[in-house]
Symmetry: D2
Subunit: 367 residues, 4 copies
Amino acid sequence: MSINSFGHLFRVTTWGESHGPALGATVDGCPPGIPLDEAAIQTFLDRRKPGQNRYTTQRREADKVEILSGVYEGQTTGTPIQLMIRNTDQRSKDYGDIAEKFRPGHADITYWQKYGIRDPRGGGRSSARETAARVAASGVARAALASLMRDLRITGYMTQMGPHATDRSRHDMDQIARNPFWCPDPVTASEWEGYLDGLRKSGSSVGAVIEVVASGVPAGLGAPVYGKLDTDLAAGMMSINAVKGVEIGEGMQAAALTGEQNADEITMGPDGPIYSSNHAGGILGGISTGQDVVVRFSVKPTSSILTPRATITRGGEATQIVTKGRHDPCVGIRAVPVGEAMMACILLDHLLLHRGQVGDGPRGRIG
Amino acid sequence: MSINSFGHLFRVTTWGESHGPALGATVDGCPPGIPLDEAAIQTFLDRRKPGQNRYTTQRREADKVEILSGVYEGQTTGTPIQLMIRNTDQRSKDYGDIAEKFRPGHADITYWQKYGIRDPRGGGRSSARETAARVAASGVARAALASLMRDLRITGYMTQMGPHATDRSRHDMDQIARNPFWCPDPVTASEWEGYLDGLRKSGSSVGAVIEVVASGVPAGLGAPVYGKLDTDLAAGMMSINAVKGVEIGEGMQAAALTGEQNADEITMGPDGPIYSSNHAGGILGGISTGQDVVVRFSVKPTSSILTPRATITRGGEATQIVTKGRHDPCVGIRAVPVGEAMMACILLDHLLLHRGQVGDGPRGRIG
Amino acid sequence: MSINSFGHLFRVTTWGESHGPALGATVDGCPPGIPLDEAAIQTFLDRRKPGQNRYTTQRREADKVEILSGVYEGQTTGTPIQLMIRNTDQRSKDYGDIAEKFRPGHADITYWQKYGIRDPRGGGRSSARETAARVAASGVARAALASLMRDLRITGYMTQMGPHATDRSRHDMDQIARNPFWCPDPVTASEWEGYLDGLRKSGSSVGAVIEVVASGVPAGLGAPVYGKLDTDLAAGMMSINAVKGVEIGEGMQAAALTGEQNADEITMGPDGPIYSSNHAGGILGGISTGQDVVVRFSVKPTSSILTPRATITRGGEATQIVTKGRHDPCVGIRAVPVGEAMMACILLDHLLLHRGQVGDGPRGRIG
Amino acid sequence: MSINSFGHLFRVTTWGESHGPALGATVDGCPPGIPLDEAAIQTFLDRRKPGQNRYTTQRREADKVEILSGVYEGQTTGTPIQLMIRNTDQRSKDYGDIAEKFRPGHADITYWQKYGIRDPRGGGRSSARETAARVAASGVARAALASLMRDLRITGYMTQMGPHATDRSRHDMDQIARNPFWCPDPVTASEWEGYLDGLRKSGSSVGAVIEVVASGVPAGLGAPVYGKLDTDLAAGMMSINAVKGVEIGEGMQAAALTGEQNADEITMGPDGPIYSSNHAGGILGGISTGQDVVVRFSVKPTSSILTPRATITRGGEATQIVTKGRHDPCVGIRAVPVGEAMMACILLDHLLLHRGQVGDGPRGRIG
């Protein structure tokens, strides 16, 4: 039981601090014989990379991944894959202020209370920089899924920024890559631009909602009752920095529905069951139905803002704090590829877990 | 890695089906020397017991717990505690209909697709009856917490039923025990009465939102980054039958806030830090702050309803299904003690995990 | 991480004390659709049952197993299987003496030092009676292996009692069932009879060496480097009460060999590689070779003897102790079916683990 | 459940191949606030380093460790510690021969059969070079133990090489560092010199027995029944390359003893119980007694020898193989610091596990 690991059989352990020499992921349990190289992983890291536009942190990191083990002549060997990313833009600066004061809404105070020591440089281990390691690990998962779950397509996007939600009738997945917000609604995307510029200039920040959809997931994945697919997705998404809520399908809105409204009626299609709707988000009883797996999570606004906030020092004295320097006005933007990464890792893990216990593929035939 | 277990050091494995001879929980890792008897556990089971009023299933189960191991002369010995509950009211009835047809919104179809076999009697392993085992296990956790976290108080209640939410300005925790809904708002509670009677008579069902608050939790619990306290709470609550969303503190609403709004400002109190608000829900960076830990989850409406729904048979033929017999119009009601149970087990687990790695209590002093 | 569990995917948690109401095993991760009933499990329990001849404890236990969950209409469902064995012959007697004094060579003192409480009745959790739960669990493993590893044959036997070892040139596996010692050498078996009668009458006890051989194990099982097949076998056998040494193949004698002597030369047979010898015990680099898997372990003499031994009381006062009542003069006898049980559980676990990561069967073809 | 990890709370995951760019250990769960730097870890690595005398492999590796995370200003922070060792002496050579042929007694064939791919360069993941990562991880464990188990002293040494065993009456721990064999018996050490020179010159190899003793271990460590201290030690030692047998205390010889001989009688000393002997090897019922913890393991001769051995190619054709190049005539020599390393890691892990469940120190008082 490692507290910095997730996954049952496809097991990812991340390590590293924001301003240490490097960070990375130790990936254990990958199937052998999977084609893999650094370029394939880099693709995913580049989607998450900081400094790509004016809405994300201006830290300049190449986020260049190195494979240190587990791959031989371009294929995985079944042994642990070590992925390392060197930190290059750790500005030498004075951390005196945030080393002595606790930022409200930040993990500064709890790391101190728990461990009695903390690395204040850039948030140390509690920095969102840790998510680069998850994204790197997901590059391995994606390579394996390319062989093992051929129809899989994972799509992440932002559906709300601050009080401004997208209009689902305008959602067009081709739009996601055409704006800096991963927004599927082009009208909302252009509204967000002005809104976020305003927040950025005033040194403020705002929260967001991210949705990640996986299509092409076979029925039968998920291990009831404490290794359910939705249980692991909830844990996976909640473990991402700044996430405060996770929903599957209807999510919190399921509370408002009656049984009649919530029932996804079933008919028989040419290749198996077809559903009239997907309130369930593709998961029933913790097991995938074959429909799209739909997960949503909220990201709180970053605590690094220019408006002074009341706080205390380590010595217990009242003071105020202002966080200067580079930061993301909406950390939710960079959480999109991270949510996709967690989805990929968890789906592969459940595929391996399923074939371990049950054998290949879904087992009970219908029709 | 057991898929029917949760917890790192305080480890609970549940077993049993709705209509098998018995169900229960194997509880491993409990500290030794904790006073424990069946009566203490029974108190918690009785809160969850079916058939207590007209709003919950009319199945009559004594839910009588037996301690089969791990306790000697009224104290835990540090060895596994086996808790068994005999099933007594498994009506001998014909399950032909639900054995052959899949209920929309129910795990019938996914268990079949995964395993190629399923126990159709009362939902088998996917029945909410499994939660009795969690509640029994929580009785052990509560006994240990009585010694190890003396100020702890866990309070669960319902804040929404269907479209009807409580008014937080009227919340009064003393009201919770005075209505059949665990509702802290007496005005809303009486509205729910008529609303749920209507649903019950028409054979319909409805969803709900449950909130569980733990006060008296010391700062420093939670193991970043994949054993975070909120990560484990999210997993724990999502693993409960019919749960579709989990929130910590502001939850999904955190998306709408700015950094200024979300900051819980800090001042120094006589016994440590004091916060101006609790948007964080008592957890920062996955570690408890010492404030109330606030978790919320949604429960979808049960799929067992009297209105016919389109579905298919195992043979793939189109048909309709109506679920007769006893069921809960709002399963959320009985989810309240289950949510409290998960909170208790997870808090104890994190206390043990913390003292394993760090030693007793929070470590970094302030002031 | 449960400390009373073993196995990665086929996960067994045992519970229960020697003189509590019951003991048993919670078996999680079993493949679905495996034919299973109580009679199949009982066969294995009966081999281990106490009181079958004058050389094992005279405690009279039916060791009747009940399946409480996880089986529906004679087949496993993929959900946890709870196996319970009621204790029936817990003699009401005065444990005053061994409750106050520590038996030299027994876990009395360490359980006390660790937990500050111990169940002195029959040794509580440290009793060899715990092994009945392992044997019951192995009945489930055997049922699954009957489908998944059809050529498997597991044979356990005793090769040494006290200073008297068998002569390997006389080993005949058909002899094992024909004497009360599971001895494959009929000459030695008859010598042991007189030797053990003498020890039994004088209230003494003696150690033993057990060998367990599994033939029909496919090549490719074992997960380097900390889930190696030999690593898990070493842990599994060492976890049996009274075991003090574990060997694979040549075991401790491998130290005396040169590289030339130790090399199992390879030639090509009709169905794959053939080896000139089996010094490796069927495992290279932690992975099965397809040869017989050969494990050996020593069992120390039971500490319950009639000769007085110097010890101390809980209060720290010098005293002497004599253990009256029923006991085994050679606990190694009943360890034979226990060793076979561990072998079965571990082989199934590794089969599932292998197909989880790699897919079905060995993967690299030769020839 | 990572298959390349060991430990419950102090969790070590090793990664890397013999001839890849680097190898290392991800160490999770270390207590915070422990003074640690690279020099402290290097001390242990230097003891294991190849090429230190003519009896170990002539590969020249600096084995220079880098700490990439988890340490801030010279102290552990409680977050994962990544230890990396660059491989520097990977000779560019032709692996054609061993890439195509399987060495008898080597993991070549089983890695191939399991994974269908293997890294043949220097044995890839199955190389003894993996043990450098364990030794590095033990440097972290030692640093924590220096605070948490102050009286601990771990001593490893060789007691047998080929057929030549030491004479225990001549054992003198001060001799261990004075010969290249970690031999406590100076007479035997000088005999081994000639013996091993002969083997080395003829390109042969030989096995060995290593003993590791830990004194100063408090009573109460070990988690029955599947996380016993001896269970974890057996697994830990068996997971080391080439180990074929593990013994605790009397080990396999316990079989030959009677209950009277095996009883370690107890008297009361000034600081607690005192034992007349230590047949138990410091562990009863899986829990430490406070006596010396004594573990012994055998190491088989390396399979790399100059005498041709019959084998087959990947294509299944009969051939012969000779292993040229640098290798260890007695790999047991370098296994001594590795055995010490496993002891250190396992003892720290059990200390944390104990204080997680039970609190600090042994609990039941005597006297």
